[in-house]
């Protein structure tokens, strides 16, 4: 059977969750059922632009009572590079667009005795499908969710209704502000796995705290939808050992993009250093890692890198 690499979907419904977050319900354009997906899955959406398709990743969930639908929630970013602005300002009910099949780089641990989700803002979205999956499996979990206020808290009523015993809210604005702090991590029983999704500084703070409390990396899970901010953005050179080429990687372009532009078919997927698809071997040179996929041992070995986000200092010799 021939299988298309993308799915054609139609926007069935749009709901304003908050003043900055919209929820879109997507159905198959031919009215068939969209594929099922596991908790933490996402799709890539292909947004038509004059300069070509804009690829953006969004977690998928389904809060409706109907099977075979995808829902995504999009926050209008103040510094939008096009994706969220397109969703908020151009997409209407009835519009058709292409999306990828579901992929999952943020699955639930099958070894955890207890799952604890830490979300801030739009970071709630992957946890909607994860919690639904755990309810089906009778799994043990809790949610700690931070927002500026009740009004800015997407899915507040839904969460209170569906997961009343597991949901804990933290609103930072107004009187009696209650902040979500990394010290919460001290309370979790042995066998807990923790999951972080939210702004980069929130992820960094919680990850660092968990490690400082002695959590093994195996028990810490996180998802980024944007690459880690790079402190250094220098140009560097790569020598391709097998094909013999020499390439310059400019400061504002990724090594992956340079390789693809030169026709070198490197497999890739997430483009944010989270999935490991674009791993390449490095024979010589100093790698500066920006991924969240490889282990500390793999980073210090200086023998492999994820070319979508990581860079070199000076000159790298690649085994391609």
């Amino acid at each position: 059977m021939h299988r298309h690499s993308t799915l054609e979907v139609r926007v069935r419904n749009i709901i304003e969750e908050t003043s900055t977050i919209k929820r879109f319900t997507l159905q198959a354009a031919d009215c068939s059922m969209l594929p099922s997906f596991s908790g933490g899955s996402h799709i890539t959406t292909f947004l038509p632009q004059p300069s070509g398709n804009l690829e953006r990743h969004y977690s998928i969930f389904n809060t409706t009572s109907e099977r075979g639908l995808f829902e995504i929630a999009v926050r209008l970013a103040e510094d939008s590079s096009g994706g969220s602005r397109y969703w908020h300002q151009h997409v209407q009910v009835g519009d058709c667009l292409s999306v990828s099949y579901p992929k999952n780089y943020f699955p639930l641990s099958f070894q955890a005795k207890h799952h604890v989700f830490y979300a801030a803002g739009i970071g709630i979205t992957p946890f909607l499908s994860m919690m639904a999956e755990l309810v089906d499996k009778n799994g043990s979990f809790e949610l700690h969710y931070a927002a500026k206020s009740k009004e800015q808290c997407a899915f507040y009523d839904y969460l209170r209704q569906e997961f009343p015993d597991q949901s804990h809210f933290y609103f930072s604005n107004g009187e009696g502000a209650n902040r979500l702090l990394p010290a919460h991590l001290l309370n979790h029983r042995i066998g807990t796995h923790v999951y972080f999704c939210g702004p980069e500084n929130m992820i960094q703070d919680f990850k660092a705290a968990a490690q400082s409390f002695g959590y093994p990396s195996f028990h810490i899970h996180l998802e980024r939808f944007a690459p880690l901010a790079k402190k250094e953005q220098h140009a560097f050179q790569v020598h391709l050992k097998k094909s013999g080429g020499q390439l310059e990687v400019p400061a504002n372009v990724s090594l992956l993009d340079v390789l693809l532009q030169k026709g070198i078919k490197v497999p890739y997927s997430c483009r944010v250093g989270g999935c490991g698809t674009c791993e390449i071997k490095v024979d010589e040179g100093q790698i500066v890692h920006f991924d969240s996929f490889l282990s500390e041992e793999q980073h210090s070995s200086q023998q492999i890198m994820l070319c979508c986000v990581s860079r070199g200092r000076g000159r790298l010799v690649l085994d391609i």
């Binding site: 070894q111 029983r189 807990t192 490690q211 400082s212 409390f213 002695g214 990396s217």
Partner: protein
């Protein structure tokens, strides 16, 4: 889940608490680690376990918080029992180390016929099922709780 047993125990710095469990023979193996935990000013519990019930140990393990690291030292049967209880309570292989004392047969899987052999300390055996000569490797399978026996190429 099964977890390989360590030949030697190593100290894992940076944990919020340490649990040291031993039978009467294993306690001495843990003294150096206890000293290191004390130098770290880390809280620890040291428990010599002989006849405690499974329910007591399950409760004790289950009440521990994330960031706790478990060391165990004792004879093989004791280590296997404690390991099962710890895993059941939620400890993963990244939160524990154990040392087993005395001889114990280990399982070796024949790479030709996949038969299971019980082996003591031998480095080379003949598979009791198909007769081929096997070198006992350090390639351990958590799923099978067994080591792979390579065929010896002569």
């Amino acid at each position: 889940m099964t977890i390989p047993v360590h030949e030697e125990l190593s100290f894992r710095k940076g944990k919020r608490k340490y649990l040291f469990c031993a039978d009467s023979n294993g306690a001495e193996s843990l003294y150096d680690l206890v000293r290191l935990a004390m130098e770290e000013n880390a809280p620890f519990d040291f428990l010599v376990i002989e006849n405690e019930s499974d329910s007591f140990l399950d409760l004790w393990f289950s009440q521990q918080k994330m960031g706790t690291y478990l060391y165990m030292a004792g004879n093989w049967e004791w280590v296997n029992r404690l390991k099962s209880l710890a895993v059941e309570a939620g400890f993963s292989e990244y939160e524990m180390q154990m040392k087993a004392l005395g001889n114990r047969s280990k399982k070796v899987i024949c790479s030709k016929c996949h038969g299971v052999n019980d082996v003591a300390d031998e480095s080379h055996i003949s598979c009791m099922h198909c007769g081929i000569k096997l070198e006992v490797s350090s390639h351990y399978s958590r799923r099978l709780d067994a080591y792979l026996g390579y065929t010896s190429i002569l």
